[in-house]
């Protein structure tokens, strides 16, 4: 079974802090993704990475950056946290190839910015 592990289930930070969300997958997947989930808006893609050191902006990258130094790990960075970044953050991974490869999700990190 694919395992996608997010380092924290709940996180509370203060405005202006630099925040790191970590995600590790154990299936040697090439593609990794960061989403945020907000009520009524579904899942929105922040960034994705299709291989080590490769990254692409998603639909809402402003205020975020990412790092993929190793294949198994994909980090989301909030450069200077703001209250509007309070949300549920979901990481996913996927084997590259045709579109029938599903994305596998972690359990999410619920982040509160005070």
């Amino acid at each position: 079974d694919v395992k996608v592990t997010q380092s924290s289930r709940y996180l509370v930070k203060r405005t202006g802090e630099k925040v790191f969300l970590e995600c590790v997958q154990d299936m040697d997947h090439e593609n990794m993704f960061w989403y945020r989930q907000d009520p009524g808006l579904g899942l929105r893609l922040i960034y994705f990475s299709y291989d080590v050191k490769m990254k692409e902006k998603g639909d809402i990258p402003e205020g975020y950056s990412v790092s993929r130094e190793k294949k198994e790990r994909f980090s989301l960075i909030l450069e200077s946290a703001s209250t509007n970044q309070t949300s549920m953050y979901l990481c996913a991974s996927r084997r590259t190839g045709e579109g029938n490869q599903p994305q596998h999700f972690g359990d999410g990190t619920r982040l509160s910015i005070l």
Binding site: G42, F48, G58, G106, D107
Partner: protein, 114 residues
């Protein structure tokens, strides 16, 4: 532009009743289609996927979905709902075409009455 619509935000059914959750997509080619379920406080779990072949696909937990090209729909069904099916359900389209991206619907929250 590509889009996924889940017209029902909330659905309430009685335990033992049948269920149909609607999903419509807008995409030029035949897409890869997925249904995910999210239990409270959890990540997304893949229920089923369609990418070619038989238009009726079977998934886990007794769910099935039917792809109808003429209606651009991929509705999720279950003949008899259990209380444990209460969750949020997301339809997703993979428009990989080199972008590795899903488009998610905004979700349908299912409530099951005992």
């Amino acid at each position: 532009a590509q889009s996924v619509t889940q017209p029902d935000i909330h659905i309430t059914v009685s335990e033992g009743a049948s269920l149909e959750l609607r999903c419509n997509y807008s995409y030029g080619a035949t897409p890869y289609l997925f249904w995910y379920v999210q239990s409270p406080g959890q990540g997304l779990q893949l229920l089923l996927k369609y990418f070619s072949g038989d238009t009726l696909v079977q998934g886990i937990k007794g769910f099935e979905a039917e792809f109808k090209r003429s209606q651009s729909s991929f509705n999720l069904r279950k003949p008899s709902v259990h209380w444990s099916d209460a969750a949020e359900y997301f339809c997703a389209v993979d428009i990989t075409s080199g972008t590795y991206k899903y488009i998610f619907g905004t979700g349908t929250r299912l409530k099951v009455l005992a």
